[in-house]
Symmetry: C4
Subunit: 293 residues, 4 copies
């Protein structure tokens, strides 16, 4: 990842920049792990605080913890901005906005009571976890999945578009057939039902009551059950292609023309010819050496 | 796509034909996009008008909009028919019928009050969106998916047929076992339940109540959960084959005319002729060398 | 399919045997299609008769139809047995038992009132449809699917076995955690719930109510959502292998050793050598002919 | 499997060790099958005993059976420990703990009434079934599935991690939007709902009631319906690779010791040495021919 923010050139700012924005030194790695731990803890507090019974008993402690995290994250954001040459550019970036949003609600609650409920936004900070994955050698896996997703992107868009059309048409159909008493009171609600059915979620909060409505639902279920094969098939094919390409070179043997050599192959497995045409086969060099002696 | 309708040969009718039925000129592309936008807007009005609370507040505006769209679409259909040599053939085609159905309800509502509720049919016009996809380079993706679907068609039919048999047999079984009070009042309802269960939708509007009924349901669930592998596997295999076949060249053998050679083929696999017409077959060269010596 | 029943050698019996048990003559094909149509109609009558409102109105007609079908199927079974050398062996075969079971309930209802409700068994006769599929060129598709299923059989058994263990352990867990009031009154019911959850059916007739129970359910759902990949992956791989093997031969070119020739290839696509070592390359024969002249 | 526990060297202890811990002799196989049968029977008793109506009628018989099984399993554990050199190491292993836990509840019930309800733990003993699978030639299948799972492990972890993030974010969103009356009383409950929805289980015990909540649910359902393609695609690709790699030979190159050559390889792809030690490298033969001329 190239860093979109230039470091300031003072000594301290430079050091801080390396610790906060990079992850190749020991200090930087420790900073990343401590930060992620704090983020996960702060999210956990928001979670636990939302349970009425726990809020009643430990509400005070949670309030203090929340302020603690807010102060820490405010300090972190200040340092982040301090060590950058162009702090405004960071504030306008995705992570900058998330950083700001995750401390704002607590500060706002001093002015407007109740603003604290927006703290839920802090959950988004957990996205920073993807940064830590880099430390854990998950990069290769992620890159392959992203590559397969990028390649199947258009096909899956086309699939989702067809799904949307099916949902619209079936939603309209059921809206005409079923009485409003069954829950199909408007077309958007009928479409909500159609999505619940086609994706095989099946809450059962709205269900068809007439025989014709049940017949149409049944058709839709079998359709939804079958077409899941489309994105799965497309994505499978792309993952297989990615794995294959990662492994096999596309160059042919200069000796016999055999293709499909593994990337780490040095000699053709069919005729034993040296594959790299730009360099000399070490065996021939050895023989030449032997002959010249 | 070849156009099934011949254009009329007058100047104006020819120009209109090119704008309305083709999509290779700038004017034609603009026409397509404007039309799709109007269709989507008209569908949106039908949707929003179906919500009771919005109908109560904006019903009058929606009524006017509906008439506006109806007049526009009537004009469009008139122009479409005007610039064709055989307008009746268009009216009998799928899109012709959909065009007609999407304006008829509003006109009919002048005679029969309430006919307007059929306007939902206008949703089908959204299928015209597939035309616009052509503008957006989705053709290749669509063709590959359609090809894979066509190839797996028979296997998936066989699968659906087996699913239907399973549903019938399990539906009959549960109808014999469960009491009518549980909701299994007739065989068609038992089959509806079987489809809800096998496709893993699981509304829960009809559920088995006896231990034996629950045991049979459990078997059916595990069956439904496992056999989803069949269409997925079949379709995956076909997508992989389609991707694989992109490497087939479209050139015919100069010797026997055989087509469908793999891109890396050097000799025709049917008659052994050297495929690359620009260079000489190395075997002939060898023979020539041998002869000249 | 080899016929397990020997035909009797009288002229009439032989002719009847060919019509009823084979499907290669015109008369035999017509017999098959008429029989399947009658079977589907008789199943349809059983279905429609099970709907209370329709039974009340058309019960008499359905009763007559039922007797009509029973008489026809009895006659058919009699002719079947008549034209066989060993009729008892047929009666003991799967189709023989199904044939008998599908007429017995109506006859029994003369002695025991109510036996007619067993007519549902007639649904099994629909399995004869698989016979007609043979007429419709679905054999190849069916064979490939069956081959892929046979190959993945052991792996899918292992998967189902693991699923059963997961269900047992999670069922036992939730039985210990959840109170009986939530519906987890016995271990078999807890296992029923576990199957409903793992297969993502989710009726909602029994749902966990305690936080710990909901946490365990959530884990189970994510597990069930992920492991569906196992049978799908296994089956996909086998279908791909079947398609590949149907297409590519495993023999190497005698000229250059290149492998992966399509089954219909006559010459190596890499070096142009005649692939079939047992016969002579027609080109060489032509040349030889030319030389000898 | 290498045995982690050394057998004691007395004659009887050695014989018992071979019967109990190995499975290559007839006696050992019989022991395994008898043990598994007893385990499954004891689990069945726990199951059946948990049904209130059956407990009321046969509670006494079940009580006796439970004690019978407990005594048998206690005896078995004693013999197991007797024939080992280091019995404590076995008691600390996974199977040792499970063995102990499966007899403890019954013994404890003598001291503490009600401890028997923990007998459910006995279910875990069923895991020993995996041992019997070894007798049934399921090893190859299991190894291939395990290999494919190991290879896709990191990719599926990454997928599960992304799923967790999606669930957290959607859970937080719906918690802010929906009123507590709809059942979204706390953030953990909202996350439980999010898991029920994303995995397409769809109990319907908590469902969104506001239009915005239903819209967000609909998005989540379509997301959950589509991303199931990811683990399926990844696993499919790995199974295909495993099947593919069955064609790798296990012999090392006589030149450089490199392993993992494809079965059809003739030369080592690392050092170009002729792999088949029984015949001569055709290149050397050619050279030899050239030299002799």
């Amino acid at each position: 990842m190239t860093l979109p923010f230039e470091p300031a050139d003072t000594g301290l700012r430079k050091t801080l920049f390396h610790i906060i924005f990079e992850s190749d030194t020991r200090a930087a790695k420790i900073f990343d792990i401590v930060l992620i731990t704090l983020i996960l803890l702060s999210v956990a507090v928001v979670f636990v605080d939302s349970v009425p019974s726990l809020h009643a008993r430990f509400g005070g402690a949670f309030y203090l913890l929340e302020w603690g995290f807010t102060l820490l994250f405010t300090l972190e954001l200040a340092v982040r901005l301090y060590c950058l040459e162009r702090p405004l550019r960071y504030l306008k970036s995705f992570y900058g906005i998330v950083d700001l949003l995750s401390i704002l609600p607590t500060w706002l609650s001093l002015l407007i009571p109740g603003a604290q409920s927006l703290l839920v936004v802090r959950v988004l900070r957990a996205l920073r976890v993807f940064r830590v994955l880099r430390l854990m050698e998950f990069v290769g896996e992620g890159r392959m999945l992203t590559q397969a997703l990028t390649r199947s992107y258009r096909k899956i868009m086309l699939f989702l578009f067809t799904v949307l059309l099916i949902i619209t048409i079936f939603g309209a159909l059921i809206y005409m057939i079923e009485p409003p008493e069954a829950g199909f009171t408007s077309m958007p609600r009928a479409m909500y039902w159609a999505i619940v059915t086609l994706t095989t979620v099946g809450y059962g909060d709205i269900t068809p009551t007439t025989p014709l409505g049940q017949f149409i639902s049944a058709c839709m279920m079998i359709l939804g059950y079958s077409i899941i094969a489309v994105p799965t098939g497309v994505f499978s094919a792309e993952v297989i292609r990615s794995i294959h390409e990662e492994r096999y070179s596309e160059e042919a043997c200069p000796g016999c023309g055999h293709e499909g050599h593994e990337r780490d192959a040095k000699y053709c497995r069919k005729c034993g010819t040296w594959l790299d045409e730009d360099t000399q086969d070490p065996r021939q060099r050895d023989e030449a050496d032997g002959a010249s002696q």
